[in-house]
């Protein structure tokens, strides 16, 4: 089945590529410039400007119609000089936009500015074949839908098999009857079952199986009471770690700065979101409207994206649902683990150098569309790690150098783990 879908997909892909190439070929006049310009625009301009709406600076669509090209070629690299020189058009533009000075870009030469202007004129390329082609590979992993499909097909096949079997049996019997051969009647099912239950050995075996099944089921159930691995509550904002930590490669610390200083990793306050989302509004995905999820940030802060003003009276705190819940009587400190013991944990959990140490317990956060609990967070889980992790590498921390030296005197040769240094004692976590 998988093969078929793969084949289908590749067919689709080639079709898309073909159509995309033809589209590009048609509009190739300014394309080279506009593409370059788009890259430059995203890097230099997009923190203050958008094409179709005001961010910090005005919307830029139609800028070439509003101002002569010569003016723009001078203004964009160094607007400050123009204003200082008293160019009337420049001063007017400056005053019209609330006297907010624009950053100067001495690195932009004439060609680059022209590229940018070309991009502005052209506008955002339409999401045609290219985008669809880019989106297609996403489906390559087995989705829930295809599993369901497979199951359905299997069921249908079984049903067909059963029906076919019955039919052939019936036909066989009919043939035999026609030939006049006597057939033994099937023993009715009920009688057979009753007979079976009179067999003491069988009953014994059956009960034993039942006890083992129920027992192991109960046992597993009890062990997993209060264990919430996979817990993925619905959050007030559909925040995607996959997008932020995965695709955009934002460092965990940027938002969860507490993890490196404090016991709490801390959920970032919304002003941290606003560092980017004042400009990033994902309008391209919502027909020019601000993304509804980003709007939730604005409404919580009482922020009006049109006037760019905050109204504290309208603000209300964001109530996230806590995913990782340690009981109150257990003390856990993030900084101890992600700063002090980073190397040891990386080694023990086999993390790649490009993966943050957080993955050791929180799992592949960069692939989680919505965050879920990856580790069981049971005491057994804590203790196993404390028993097994080799922390002899901590010797380069002067604190541990002394402690490890002291312990080595009495426990020569043993592997140095947190447990050896007293990390399993009750009071280390429960106080």
């Amino acid at each position: 089945m998988r093969d078929i879908s793969m084949i289908l997909k590749s067919v689709w892909k080639s079709l898309f590529v073909f159509s995309a190439i033809s589209v590009i070929a048609v509009s190739t006049v300014n394309a080279q410039d506009a593409k370059e310009g788009r890259t430059l625009f995203k890097a230099k301009c997009s923190s203050c400007h958008a094409l179709d709406h005001k961010v910090v600076g005005p919307a830029l669509t139609g800028v070439s119609d509003r101002h002569p090209e010569a003016f723009l070629l001078k203004w964009i690299p160094n607007n400050a000089a123009m204003i200082a020189a008293g160019d009337p058009a420049a001063v007017k533009l400056f005053n019209d936009n609330g006297k907010v000075p624009m950053t100067t870009f001495p690195e932009l030469d004439e060609a680059k500015v022209k590229d940018i202007l070309a991009y502005i004129k052209e506008g955002e390329p339409k999401p045609t074949g290219d985008a669809a082609a880019a989106a297609a590979p996403k489906d390559e992993t087995t989705s829930g839908l295809s599993i369901a499909g497979i199951v359905a097909i299997v069921i249908v096949a079984i049903v067909i098999l059963v029906i076919l079997g019955r039919a052939s049996k019936l036909l066989e019997r009919l043939i035999l009857q026609k030939q006049g051969i006597e057939i033994e009647e099937d023993v009715p099912l009920k009688v057979g079952v009753r007979k079976m239950f009179k067999n003491k050995k069988f009953v014994m075996f059956f009960i034993l199986c039942l006890i083992i099944c129920l027992g192991s089921f109960g046992w597993m159930g009890m062990w997993n009471t209060g264990v919430h691995t996979g817990y993925q509550p619905v959050q007030p904002i559909k925040f995607s770690h996959e997008l932020h930590a995965g695709i955009n490669q934002i460092d965990c610390q940027y938002c969860h700065s507490g993890a490196f200083k404090s016991k709490n990793a801390s959920i970032p306050s919304l002003n941290v979101c606003m560092n980017c989302h004042k400009a990033v509004q994902a309008r391209d995905k919502y027909d020019g409207e601000i993304s509804p999820e980003i709007k939730k940030i604005y409404s919580a802060l009482g922020y009006d994206p049109e006037t760019q003003k905050y109204d504290e009276s309208k603000s209300k705190p964001m109530e996230w649902v806590r995913v990782h819940n340690l009981p109150d009587f257990a003390y856990f400190n993030h900084s101890q683990h992600v700063v002090v013991a980073e190397d040891a944990i990386r080694q023990a959990k086999g993390l790649q150098p490009n993966e943050p140490v957080c993955f050791a317990c929180h799992g592949p956060v960069n692939t989680m569309e919505e965050i879920y609990q990856y580790s069981p967070l049971t005491m057994k889980w804590c203790i196993n790690c404390h028993k097994e992790t080799d922390i002899s590498g901590q010797k380069n921390n002067a604190f541990y150098a002394k402690v490890i030296e002291a312990h080595e005197k009495i426990k020569k040769g043993e592997k140095i783990t947190p447990a050896l240094l007293g990390g399993l004692e009750c009071g280390k976590c429960h106080y």
Partner: protein, 1010 residues
């Protein structure tokens, strides 16, 4: 040789009463209803099969249903805009000051949760007192008003600030126009900015004037200094420079002027470091009631209150050789003899002696000045040139105000941090006079006794919400800065004054800042931000000058003799401030109410303290309720407490109790003793004569001391200074005992956390108890539970009495029984907390391993493992384990502080709150140990000695508690533990405790010949 001096904790133990013996054998204070259950009827009842099945079915169903409950959804709400300096989980510290003392306020996520001393405090190089430690709880007090209020017909109606402002401004304009007086009644204002704000108010309303009034007054000393030296100031006392301290009923280690500061100075000459240099000061105390200071004295002589004046005259005569009349102590031969010796000793220690007196009588204080001048104290132990501004109240001025109000001359009165309707000497006269004032405004935070009689209550901030400053001593300025946004809709009193005065700057932050930038900062060469960080500014101290006394003392002696004669009636009553309650302003603080009085160990009540023999004479027994009737006709009913050491013919009652409008915790606790105060010769007098008559009632006081018995084992070791000089290990002879081990030795390779406690430094003040309560979220259980021995304090201070005769110590029980009076008892205070025994008996008996040992020498307690068998508490030889009989944080019967969602904001988030049915005990502030270690790890450095401090240690002004790592031979605690004075309590039972105590040394031997 082992000392066989006999110590006892209370009279019941000393007398070995049958009740005491019986109770001590019992695990519970009250008999359990076992009999009822196990009697014939109980045993022969039959549970029908159907009932049994029903119960079983119901139980099973209920348990299943309870277990089916899904995990509750937990919300996590971050800041909308996080302040840059706040990191959730990491405390911030802000400098501030409490009653003039510079402190650090620890805040977590914006909530003040703990007070710590400021290491940069300079002058106040000491810990914090119980009040400062407990003050964080006042911030979250739900008995406060939530908004400003207008009082109409006895009803308080909460309103807005705009309405208050228009009302008050109207009233003040009317008052100003009427040509009558406007008065601000405040307890001592030593804040330069508050004074500046009041000055602006007075500029707008010229009829206004500030009247300073302290509930417990020091006017006597101030006026005596004016009289003797022309300086109306409270001097700065230097107890650290005094080798010989003679105190006449001044409780300078506790409540007198600046107890914590004096404690630090006093113990600097008596602690283990001083003793190692073979130096120890000598302290002689003459007093009526047993005060905290008296319990610490080397020699304590009980004198009647009426004998105090004559004793001082006798001392003056003996020192100067003059013959002032009235210096006879005919009825007190001991005092007479000691006075003569003391005079000689003082002369021998010229310039190194100090005489202080707790009296508020001007004449008495003039005489004390004369004595101090004669022994050359001025310029050395007393500093008149850098005076103390902590108290500046003027009794006569306040009394004058009451008279003016009574005559209708006052049109408006404002009460700032004062509550005269409760603590005035004559509350009736005050309230009658107050009724005649048209406009009455209070700045109180609650509708207290005075505020409820006012027209408007402009609720003031708590000091933790305020900007401000203090000037405790000449040239010593400390800042007050807010650590939280106002919790309720309150406004700082100064801001209210500035608003009503239409001042140009109404924002009090701006006001304080510009005031400092204009007046204080240029001289100190500091910037405002630097002050906020450091907390204090000190300017160069002036040189203390020597002063000589030249005036005639004839009139003074006559006045003293007359007062003494007036007082000498059948029963002389002294009203005093005790450590927990002080003047009663913080009466609604549950931590303070449950802090045992350091001497009597009584909580949640005041009482009449009477000497044992005098009680016999009055035909009263302990806990008998008596009527105390003063010469002014005021009478109250209080239970009797038999107090050894109390002077015969005297009784003592603590002030600060009997509040009626302070809040849930403090209302109607004890009785108000302020009305016994009388206004004599221009000052408030805290001694009066009374009659005591039994009512026939009985009232059991909630005492903590006699709750545990050490079964007569030696837990205190002591020696005299003379013996110590000969042999540093004097009194610490190790008795013969077998060394046996039931446990294997194990190593403590990393750290070995231990403690050393210097019994010679510990004064028993109890601030460690409150510090521990706040740090470790310890519940307050209330009076009834304390009576049932269920107080939860992790650290307690055991107070032991012992008896000495001139023939030496009383050594045998039989001899003690023969002794007749218990006047000359001596006292030892012993802080007792979990000893973190290496071979802990509690660990062995725990069936679930909830209490186990750690590799760094601590005895851990895992609450979530404990099933509450209480075997550990029974097996603990030190009786330091506490059992949670209730869910104190969720039980309406214990509505003291933990049970309120709002007050719970004071809890330390690093320490679990314990639930019902588990055992708890001192954890050696393990959260601080872990925190200190983590800090070192993050900084990649080894742990330094002094990185980690215990809450009790930090609060201790006397530095009696030293904590550290015994594996580090250079640590402070290792050095202390090598002292020859170190002994371990109950060493002979081989539990190997981790806390060493240093023998008590008393400097009892006089250096002069009689």
């Amino acid at each position: 040789m082992e000392s066989n001096k006999k110590y006892w904790k209370g009279l019941e133990e000393y007398n070995n009463t049958p009740d005491f013996v019986k109770n001590n054998k019992n695990e519970f204070a009250e008999p359990l209803p076992i009999e009822d259950v196990l009697n014939e009827a109980g045993l022969s009842t039959v549970t029908p099969r159907r009932d049994f099945l029903k119960a079983l079915g119901f139980g099973l169903g209920a348990v299943t249903l309870a277990a089916c409950q899904s995990t509750p959804l937990k919300k996590s709400i971050p800041y909308l805009v996080k302040p840059e300096e706040v990191t959730p989980g990491i405390p911030n510290f802000y400098t501030s000051s409490f009653n003039g003392q510079s402190i650090l306020v620890k805040t977590r996520e914006g909530r003040p949760i703990k007070i710590e001393p400021n290491p940069n405090a300079g002058l106040y190089n000491c810990g914090t007192d119980a009040r400062a430690q407990a003050s964080v709880l006042d911030l979250y007090d739900v008995s406060k008003l939530k908004a400003p209020a207008l009082v109409k017909g006895g009803q308080t109606e909460e309103t807005t600030w705009a309405k208050i402002d228009s009302f008050v401004k109207g009233e003040l304009a009317k008052a100003q126009a009427s040509g009558k007086k406007i008065r601000i009644v405040a307890s001592t204002v030593n804040s330069p900015s508050t004074n500046a704000a009041i000055a602006q108010f007075v500029a707008k309303y010229p009829a206004a004037k500030l009247v300073q009034y302290d509930a417990v007054s020091y006017t006597g000393i101030i006026q005596a200094n004016q009289n003797s030296f022309g300086k109306a100031v409270l001097p700065k006392y230097n107890f650290d420079k005094a080798d010989l301290i003679v105190s006449f009923s001044a409780d300078f280690l506790g409540t007198w002027i600046s107890g914590e500061e004096f404690t630090a100075q006093y113990t600097a000459n008596r602690n283990y470091k001083s003793l190692e240099n073979k130096k120890m000061s000598r302290h002689i105390q003459f007093e009526g009631g047993m005060s905290l200071t008296g319990t610490n004295a080397d020699t304590r002589v009980p004198v009647k209150l009426s004998e105090e004046g004559p004793a001082l005259i006798a001392l003056y005569n003996a020192i100067t050789g003059q013959a002032l009349p009235g210096g006879t102590l005919g009825n007190n031969a001991t005092a007479d003899k000691v006075i003569k010796l003391v005079a000689k000793e003082l002369l021998q220690n010229k310039g190194k002696g100090l005489v202080v007196c707790g009296s508020n009588d001007v004449s008495t204080q003039i005489l004390v000045n004369a004595i101090n001048a004669a022994i050359g104290s001025y310029g050395t132990t007393i500093d008149l040139d850098n005076p103390c501004y902590l108290y500046a109240g003027n009794d006569a001025e306040f009394n004058g105000l009451v008279a003016e109000m009574g005559r209708g001359e006052v049109a408006a009165v404002l009460f700032l941090n004062s509550n005269p309707a409760y603590d005035a000497a004559n509350p009736k006269a005050f309230t009658d006079a107050l009724a005649k004032v048209p406009a009455k405004i209070s700045f109180s935070d609650r509708a207290d006794e005075t505020a409820s009689l006012c027209d408007a209550i402009a609720i003031n901030h708590n000091y933790l919400e305020s900007w401000g400053d203090a000037n405790a001593y000449e040239g010593y300025y400390s800042i007050v800065q807010p650590t939280i946004n106002p919790v309720f809709n309150s406004r700082q009193a100064e801001e209210s004054l500035l608003t009503w005065a239409d001042a140009p700057v109404k924002d009090y932050y701006q006001f304080v800042r510009s005031n400092w930038e204009a007046k204080v900062l240029p001289a100190a060469g500091l910037k405002w931000e630097q002050v906020l960080e450091k907390g204090v500014v000190t300017t160069t101290a002036k040189t203390a000058g020597a002063y000589s006394f030249t005036l005639s003392l004839a009139a003074v002696a006559t006045s003293i003799t007359n007062s003494s004669k007036a007082l000498a009636k059948e029963v002389e009553l002294q009203v005093y401030e005790n450590i927990p309650m002080r003047d009663g302003k913080n009466a609604n603080n549950a931590f303070l109410q449950e802090l045992p009085d350091p001497v009597s160990k009584v909580t949640w009540d005041n009482f009449v303290a009477i000497a044992p023999k005098f009680a016999e004479k009055l035909k009263v027994k302990e806990f008998d309720v008596v009527t105390v009737k003063g010469s002014n006709g005021y009478s109250i009913e209080l239970p009797v407490l038999i107090q050894p050491g109390q002077a015969q013919g005297t009784a003592s009652i603590a002030l600060g109790y009997g509040r009626t409008k302070t809040g849930k915790a403090g209302n109607d606790v004890g009785k108000n003793a302020f009305p016994f105060v009388s206004f004599v010769n221009g000052t408030m007098q805290y001694a009066t004569s009374v009659t005591i008559t039994p009512t026939g009632g009985y009232y059991e006081l909630a005492q903590t001391q006699t709750h545990h018995s050490f079964e007569g084992r030696a837990v205190i070791k002591e020696a005299t200074f003379k013996e110590y000089l000969k042999n540093a290990g004097a009194g610490n002879e190790k008795g013969e005992h077998k060394d046996y081990d039931l446990w294997d030795q194990y190593e403590k390779p990393g750290n070995n956390w231990v403690m050393a406690i210097d019994l010679n430094a510990c004064t028993g003040c109890g601030s460690c108890i409150v510090a521990c309560n706040v740090e470790n979220n310890i519940p307050v259980v209330g009076r009834d539970e304390v009576r049932r021995r269920r107080e939860m304090h992790w650290i307690r201070i055991d107070r032991y009495y012992s008896y000495e005769t001139k023939d030496g110590d009383v050594t045998r029980e039989k001899e003690i029984a023969k002794l007749e009076d218990l006047d000359h008892v001596s006292v030892v205070h012993q802080p007792m907390l979990c000893q973190h025994c290496d071979h802990a008996p509690c660990e062995t008996v725990c069936p679930v391993l909830a209490t186990v040992h750690s590799s760094d020498g601590l005895n851990h307690m895992a609450y979530n493992r404990c099933v509450g068998t209480r075997y550990c508490a029974n097996n603990c030889p030190y009786k330091v384990r506490r059992f949670n009989w209730f869910n104190y944080w969720n039980d309406s019967r214990f509505d003291n502080y933990l049970n309120n969602e709002f007050t719970q904001l004071v809890l330390n988030p690093d320490v679990t709150t314990r639930s019902r049915g588990v055992m708890e005990k001192c954890s050696m502030c393990i959260q601080r140990i872990q925190g200190g270690k983590l800090q070192a790890k993050l900084e990649k450095r080894p742990l330094k000695d002094g990185d980690i401090k215990m809450a009790c240690q930090e609060a201790c002004s006397a530095n009696a508690i030293v904590f550290g790592d015994a594996n580090d031979p250079n640590s402070e605690v290792s050095k202390a533990l090598r002292s020859e004075r170190i002994y371990y309590v109950l060493e002979e039972i081989n539990v190997k405790p981790g806390i060493g105590y240093m023998t008590k040394i008393r400097n009892t031997d006089t250096t002069v010949q009689a």
